[in-house]
Symmetry: C2
Subunit: 238 residues, 2 copies
């Protein structure tokens, strides 16, 4: 198969489960034709490619890193191969690039120049958490990270709860994984008792996946340990 | 493989492209162990299963329909097999069940009873449109359908534009496909000239996919025909 000249937004695994369980076969055919990658983390990108296909010619590939250490003035040059008609792939650290990661910048540069951008299907913990939560999927917002400070965090949680109550839209957010347990406790203590809280943790990891929806009042009685496990939080009005 | 007793949220194809190009192989292994399905449309669900695996034992399966014609009092009984320890699958008309379709109701019943819900990875036109738009993926809202009436539609579009301008969150919405062209014209005429509009149409259909981001002012000069093609609309502040 010849991979068309485009910027491909390539989802990667969100757990240590075998990638082919969660990545469509068609993606790997596209990836087979790409030698230029923009990645959030070179090490995990190489590991992903190798896990998908042990014979993948990684040494023929270039990897340009896009993360908080990147000089943003250089990012545009990452698309130089595509400007010459050679496909480029974008992969983030986990899940779908351009969603909750720096990848959107690359897609925006490509769109501005009229370069073709093609998204591939794959796992998204935000969407998979929503699917399993039982919450409104006809209207929802992803709000990124909560503030770090506890008082600011509680204030933000109440804001999101009010939006959910007023609009009926599911409110989704994430937290740095080592703070997960503390955040569940804060949510249980901060939300109104009947507001529904879904904690979706370890999605797509058969050994650790846990997706549980309960009224906030009941979370105080749940035994859980989400420490260091990637987790999505969702709230909904009753 | 033995499919664990759970409600599986099973994504289906969003185009006529070969399903295995967009559906992970692992999903088909799970589906191989499921004989009870809750589906938005029996005909398309059977067709999807047959396209994924021509040998799939469709005649051994039960299909319960969940759509606007369904008596909502009956939906809970669709989970009876799961209450007896037998896995159940939920498939909507297109894409990820529970997102922009009635499937969330089934997941919410399961969650309320403490029945396990497992989401599978797959194509979502909402998320894939976002990935390719170049718009903010650290904060975004999906707002469902626009109002039908033109005046109400323009008012709602301005509301969403104001939210995007104020919060920086990407605003996503959909339209009944036969109204797509008219809606692009309305958006081009209604949005502020520098507001960015992405029209993501025919996602994952190699023959028809078109994902284009331009300032609203430029859409007036674009030749397009999105009539009857499933399309996602996204707006972003400049």
């Amino acid at each position: 198969m010849i991979t068309e000249a485009a910027l491909y937004m390539i989802p990667v695994a969100i757990s240590d489960a075998p990638p082919c369980d969660f990545i469509p076969r068609g993606n790997m055919e596209v990836v087979g034709g790409i030698r230029h990658y923009i990645v959030e983390n070179v090490r995990t990108a190489r590991r992903f490619l190798r896990r998908c296909d042990p014979a993948f010619p990684i040494d023929e590939c270039t990897f340009s890193e896009l993360n908080s250490h990147t000089d943003l003035n250089e990012v545009s040059s990452y698309l130089n191969p595509l400007r010459q008609g050679i496909p480029v792939g974008m992969m983030s650290e986990a899940g779908c690039p351009g969603v909750a990661d720096p990848g959107a910048l690359v897609a925006s540069i490509a769109q501005r120049e009229g370069l073709k951008v093609i998204p591939l299907a794959g796992p998204s913990s935000i969407l998979m958490g929503l699917m399993a939560s039982g919450f409104n999927g006809q209207g929802f917002s992803f709000n990124g990270y909560l503030p770090v400070d506890d008082a600011a965090k509680a204030k933000r949680v109440r804001e999101l709860e009010n939006i959910a109550a007023r609009t009926g839209m599911t409110q989704i957010f994430i937290e740095t994984p080592y703070r997960n347990n503390r955040t569940v406790a804060l949510l249980a203590a901060t939300l109104r008792p009947d507001t529904l809280l879904c904690v979706a943790s370890g999605i797509s990891d058969p050994a650790r996946e846990s997706i549980l929806t309960l009224p906030a009042a009941k979370w105080g009685g749940v035994r859980y340990d989400y420490a260091k496990i990637p987790t999505i939080f969702l709230i909904s009005r009753p």
